[in-house]
């Protein structure tokens, strides 16, 4: 999950997110280089006592500063496209679950799995136990296996919502009347948090998403209900 004073992205939990983190760092390095180059050039031109008398007709420089940015843009665009198409890849999923956005909670359907259907509401602040995360914990978490390709079907029953888990690199709009598909393979167990990412009304900020990822062996034992 995100924590106070966090710099950068959350720790990756899926191969796609690893790619995104690497791409983020790659783009950031290019931005740093450009920033420092521009700052350095600014500093030089503002502090020098000399005056440039041949500022026009510098064809060579014109050519360089046209081609160089083009190359830099290609260096960003190609890895970006690669990840874009990797995200679209559907490797035969072993499991399908549905997530349906409502004002203002999520409903999950495990129809592959005994037809389990449940709602996931945010815990109201008055009901929090010590250690619970305010505005982030829910009453019913989505339990899913790690190291298995999972297909999420996402839709909405009323207005636009967006189902998001940053550490998995997922963000898929929930659109009424349309069924969106996204897939992921989680790499490590744990509890992962996300929040509705499409402004959907008064309680938009209060419909978080909580994923509980557990090893496949334990997942296969089936749901355990505790009170």
């Amino acid at each position: 999950m995100a924590h106070a004073a966090q710099v950068g992205l959350q720790d990756a939990t899926s191969p796609i997110m690893e790619e995104l983190v690497i791409f983020h760092d790659h783009a950031l390095m290019i931005i740093f280089l450009i920033c420092f180059l521009v700052l350095y050039a600014l500093f030089l031109t503002l502090t020098t006592k000399l005056t440039n008398t041949s500022i026009s007709d510098a064809q060579e420089m014109e050519t360089i500063w046209t081609i160089l940015p083009a190359i830099i843009l290609i260096l960003i665009a190609l890895p970006s496209l690669r990840i874009l198409y990797l995200t679209d890849e559907i490797n035969d999923p072993s499991f399908t679950i549905k997530s349906i956005g409502h004002q203002w909670y999520w409903t999950y359907e495990y129809t592959d799995y005994g037809g389990l259907i449940f709602n996931s509401y945010m815990l109201p602040p008055l009901f929090l136990e010590p250690g619970d995360l305010r505005l982030l914990d829910v009453d019913n978490r989505v339990v899913l296996p790690v190291e298995a390709p999972v297909r999420m079907m996402i839709t909405s029953q009323d207005v636009l919502h967006s189902w998001t888990v940053p550490s998995l690199g997922l963000k898929t709009d929930a659109i009424p009347g349309r069924l969106n598909q996204t897939t992921f393979t989680a790499t490590r167990p744990g509890v992962y948090y996300g929040q509705c990412s499409e402004i959907c009304g008064a309680n938009h900020s209060f419909m978080p998403i909580v994923l509980e990822l557990i090893p496949l062996k334990i997942f296969e034992m089936g749901p355990v209900f505790t009170l």
């Binding site: 999923p93 072993s94 399908t96």
Partner: protein, 88 residues
């Protein structure tokens, strides 16, 4: 109509719809709808010919896995009332 219970996959066996090359996109609305239609068309033709409707089970599983249950409910309701828009 087939018995719904009999069509649930056996426990511990993971069967989820495989990748369908007809629907390679993120938008899977058609995939769900088409399989719902196919199930009912399959049921209709096979009962008319007096054949077993067991092979229709595949479509049932696919749309059961993909479609939000509220969609299936409202479609079934429409079929019952004769207001379903699809051609079965």
């Amino acid at each position: 109509m087939l018995d719904v219970e009999a069509q649930e996959p056996p426990k511990g066996k993971w069967s989820t719809p495989p990748f369908d090359p007809r629907f390679p996109n993120q938008n899977q609305t058609r995939n769900c709808y088409q399989n719902f239609l196919d199930y009912h068309r399959c049921l209709k033709t096979r009962t008319r010919r007096g054949k077993s409707t067991q092979p229709c089970e595949y479509y049932f599983r696919v749309y059961h896995s993909l479609c939000p249950s509220s969609w299936v409910e409202s479609w079934n309701e429409q079929i019952k009332n004769g207001t379903f828009a699809g051609k079965i």
